[in-house]
């Protein structure tokens, strides 16, 4: 992390007093005991006490806080619900953590335009709960949806099991209100579609708190499908399972969700929630199909046929919503289930081309042996998003380091086979130092020039995403390649 600025730390009392002028009452936290609650996010291997925590309640307060910090060169770490898994909200010793937890109002439910305008602190599930009485829902469903906030979803471009068919956050957000580091309040998008100029909404989504602080979000909502049914399919090898995934897609079917678990996960979750999973298979797949009854029945049959052709040994089809929920219960509890068989674990998040699944799983088991740590795999198979869980014990000397090295090996492998470093958790602190495996120096510099357009002093969430932040003045310099036309062979007319 960047070296903390001692002169800012020395001004803590003065800063807290100034911030209390903006956010009165208990909205400014500076006692160690209370700061402790904010010392990490979902990436719990890293902890750091923030300098001060500020919990504003209005956009105006956010604007004033940012303006003050801008004028005083104080860094800001924005924070939603703190459930992120890549350390995007990890505090800095010399930065103010700006929590949006008090922005809990849904502002407008607009069924005619099929959208909801909400404050960023509302949970992902909270949006669905606000509209489900009319049969609507918000489609992206990260597994933390009961706790994670919609503002954080926008910052991380969160996914979930249903994004194969319904898209990621970025495909479901229509607009944001955002405060820039200098205190300016801007709006990108609204209840309409697409941008009139540059698609800044698209750039903001997934920018991990580096470009601004989101204070309002407009998302589109969808009518719930008539029915949903799930198939629980067991395979004798992961190779067969991987082939089934590819064959379903090749057959022109885009299921609502398509998840895959390996043997260690199957056993851990079965011991935990007793979902009735078969224990004699190497790979277990859940395929969910949704839509009108006639469509679902038709597709269930097709998927079953494909699965059988891929050597499936068990195929069960949910006959009720209860049974469907039971199929999912193991998958949805995969993380806590693994928590029961290992004191600690890291959830890796990379995406690979679907066809590389078998190869990647084999290499992961090699890495697992090499580092002497167990790995259990869950997989959003439909879109190639891999979540290997690396099991370790932080109390054993060297195990955390070994686990991190194993994670780095897996992610490097993802890039090597044509995939990417993060499918839905973001880069944050966790994967920051691996950015060079995917991007050249020029790629990264071009991304940082976007940062310079929003936050030229690098005060927002420094130390995240980019291994090295170049000064904007440096990035702005032009390297002119002098000389005459260096390409006599280019056709000219």
């Amino acid at each position: 992390m960047p070296k903390p600025d001692e002169s800012v730390i020395a001004r803590r009392a003065e800063l807290a007093a100034a911030l209390r002028e903006i956010v009165p009452g208990e909205g400014v936290i500076d006692t160690e005991e209370e700061l402790r609650a904010f010392d990490c996010d979902g990436l719990m291997a890293y902890k750091q006490l923030p300098l001060i925590v500020v919990l504003p309640e209005t956009t105006e307060q956010v604007s004033k806080v940012l303006k003050y910090c801008h004028e005083n060169s104080v860094k800001i770490v924005p924070r939603g619900a703190g459930t992120g898994l890549s350390g995007g909200a990890l505090p800095l010793a010399d930065a103010i953590t700006l929590g949006l937890g008090k922005f809990k109002q849904i502002l407008d439910i607009d069924f005619e335009n099929r959208c909801v305008v909400t404050q960023p602190g509302v949970t992902n599930l909270g949006i669905t709960q606000a509209v489900e009485h009319a049969g609507f829902y918000y489609a992206p469903d990260p597994s933390s949806q009961i706790a994670c906030s919609i503002g954080g979803n926008v910052a991380e471009n969160s996914g979930g099991v249903h994004c194969l068919k319904y898209g990621l956050t970025t495909n479901n957000v229509l607009g944001v209100e955002m405060v820039l580091m200098n205190g300016d309040v801007v709006r990108f998008g609204g209840k309409h579609l697409d941008a009139g100029g540059y698609d800044l909404l698209g750039v903001i989504t997934g920018s991990e708190g580096l470009l601004g602080v989101i204070t309002e979000v407009t998302v589109r909502i969808l009518k719930k499908p008539e029915v949903a049914r799930a198939l629980l399919i067991g395979f004798p090898t992961m190779l067969d399972a991987g082939k089934c995934v590819a064959d379903v897609i090749a057959d022109g079917i885009i299921p609502g969700g398509m998840e895959l678990m390996d043997k260690p996960i199957i056993h851990a979750t079965e011991d935990f929630v007793h979902a009735g999973y078969p224990l004699d298979v190497e790979g277990l797949m859940i395929v969910e199909l949704d839509g009108p009854e006639a469509e679902v029945a038709y597709l269930v049959e097709r998927v079953e046929k494909i699965a059988r052709a891929c050597n499936a040994t068990t195929v069960r089809i949910s006959e009720s919503d209860d049974e469907r929920a039971r199929f999912w219960s193991g998958r949805k509890n995969a993380f806590p289930a693994v928590g029961r068989i290992s004191p600690d674990y890291i959830c890796v998040d990379g995406t690979i081309p679907r066809k590389k699944l078998a190869e990647v799983l084999e290499r992961i088991s090699e890495y697992s042996e090499k580092h002497g740590l167990r790995v259990a795999n869950v997989f959003h198979a439909g879109d190639g998003n891999l979540h290997p869980l690396v099991l370790f014990d932080a109390n054993q000397p060297g195990e955390l380091e070994a686990a991190e090295a194993l994670c780095a090996d897996i992610l490097t492998l993802c890039v090597e086979v044509g995939g990417v470093l993060s499918g839905e958790h973001g880069i944050g602190v966790e994967k920051r130092d691996l950015m060079g495996t995917m991007f050249t120096e020029d790629d990264l510099k071009q991304q940082q020039r976007v940062k310079c357009a929003f936050d030229p002093e690098h005060l927002l969430n420094p130390g995240k995403v980019y291994p090295e932040l170049h000064r904007c003045a440096e990035l702005g310099k032009m390297h002119i390649h002098h000389g005459k036309l260096p390409f006599p062979d280019i056709p000219r007319f």
């Binding site: 990621l168 309409h192 997934g206 009518k223 469509e295 995406t351 973001g426 702005g476 260096p486 056709p491």
Partner: protein, 412 residues
């Protein structure tokens, strides 16, 4: 006569941009030329013709993506996808005929750069949602890339979104990766034929809102008032004698049949219902997609594309038509208004932009003579804060202003 440079390889493209930078020579970036008259007119000393950088590099139907060089014609790509039973789900339009060019001249680079989308936008998104990655040369003369070939990707800033809709003002893409998806097995269109005299646009908004708010997975919702309907080549539409609201259902056969019956019973009270089968459906939605009702209409001097909250569509359109002479039709459930205007001062820009000020949205002057596009803001004017950011982004990518300078806004 300006120089035309026609690179054939990525290295030649890089050399070309480097040369333009060192000589401070602004270039117009062009490939098929179908949308050459879309945007502000530019003063460029050279033309960068991307049409020789053409061809599909990788098409993997099972992985649902295609990577092609930026100058690859959409026609070639569509044919390749069709062979595998796939399509670009955002229905890239062909605006060539509307803008006075030939049809089928558009390229993948142009589609991405203008962020266009057809009727399926409401369900599947626009070009922005389907560009998975790209390689490009920035206006700094540097090669860079972003994204990849997979859909789930949060690895650094999403520059694919920024490139989509940037009209070639930031970088010249050399390769574009687009998502591909299976074609639907079956297509049906329900038509509501209005018999009420006078204004029925408000009723159309209600039908479309009801259909899009249902669980029937409607993938197209357009309303053609009488004049636009009469211009259709589909008999059921042109013979209706009034306005026609169209709702499209796509998917597996049994599913489409089921939804068709369900939706029909929900909207039957609005007007006479007709059905279009596959071939007529395809023709009809292509007409909507390519703005065919306004093609060849020399009396409509200006064509605007207005994006607004869908439920406000008819209110805004009819408000505009109270003071300006012209015609409209609606796509995206009312959220996209195509407005054709007869000659009027400043192409009616003030009236139009005032009409959308309260609801939010944007209005783009898609078709107009060059002198008007030079005087009237073609793109929706930006707020001060937005303009500042947009200006700094341009500076970060193309500090010397060598790529399509002024195509979107003055200086951008």
């Amino acid at each position: 006569m300006s120089d035309t440079l026609r690179p054939e390889t990525a290295d030649q493209l890089l050399d070309t941009v480097k040369w333009a930078v060192s000589e401070k020579t602004p270039m117009e970036v062009v490939a098929g030329g179908s949308k050459r008259d879309f945007g502000r007119p530019m003063q460029t000393a050279a033309t960068l013709d991307m049409s020789a950088m053409s061809g599909i590099d990788t098409y993997e139907p099972e992985e649902l993506f295609v990577t092609a060089r930026a100058g690859t014609p959409m026609q070639e790509l569509n044919a390749a996808l069709d062979e595998k039973g796939q399509q670009f789900s955002f229905e890239p339009p062909d605006l060539g005929p509307l803008l006075g060019a030939e049809s089928n001249q558009g390229t993948i680079g142009g589609i991405a750069a203008t962020n266009l989308a057809g009727p399926r936008r409401i369900k599947e998104g626009a070009a922005r949602d389907h560009v998975l990655g790209f390689n490009a040369v920035s206006g700094r003369g540097e090669v860079f890339k972003s994204g990849g070939t997979v859909v789930k990707n949060v690895t650094g800033f999403d520059l694919s979104k920024l490139m989509a809709g940037s009209f070639g003002t930031l970088a010249v893409m050399s390769h574009v990766t687009l998502k591909t998806l299976p074609q639907p097995e079956k297509i049906r269109t329900l038509l509501v034929c209005w018999r009420i005299d006078g204004v029925y646009d408000h009723g159309a908004m209600k039908v479309m809102s009801k259909a899009l708010g249902s669980s029937h997975d409607v993938s197209g919702a357009a309303h053609l008032p009488a004049a636009a309907a009469a211009a259709s080549s589909v008999d059921y539409v042109n013979a209706s004698g009034g306005g026609v609201t169209a709702l499209r259902l796509e998917g597996p056969g049994p599913s489409v049949e089921h939804r068709l019956e369900a939706l029909k019973s929900e909207i039957k009270d609005f007007g006479r219902i007709e059905e279009l089968h596959t071939v007529n459906s395809r023709t009809f939605w292509e007409e909507v997609r390519d703005v065919r009702p306004f093609v060849g209409r020399d009396d409509l001097e200006y064509v605007w594309r207005i994006s607004v909250p869908p439920a406000d569509g008819s209110r805004i359109a009819l408000f505009i038509l109270e003071s300006l002479k012209g015609e409209v039709f609606y796509d995206w459930g009312g959220g996209q208004i195509w407005l054709g205007l007869k000659p009027v001062v400043n192409a009616g820009a003030e009236v139009i932009r005032a009409a959308i000020a309260n609801s939010g949205g944007h209005a783009t002057l898609v078709k107009a003579p060059a002198d008007i596009r030079g005087e009237v803001p073609v793109m929706q004017p930006l707020s001060d804060a937005e303009a500042l950011i947009a200006g700094k982004i341009k500076e970060g990518f193309d500090p010397e202003g060598v790529l399509n300078p002024g195509r979107m806004y003055s200086g951008i």
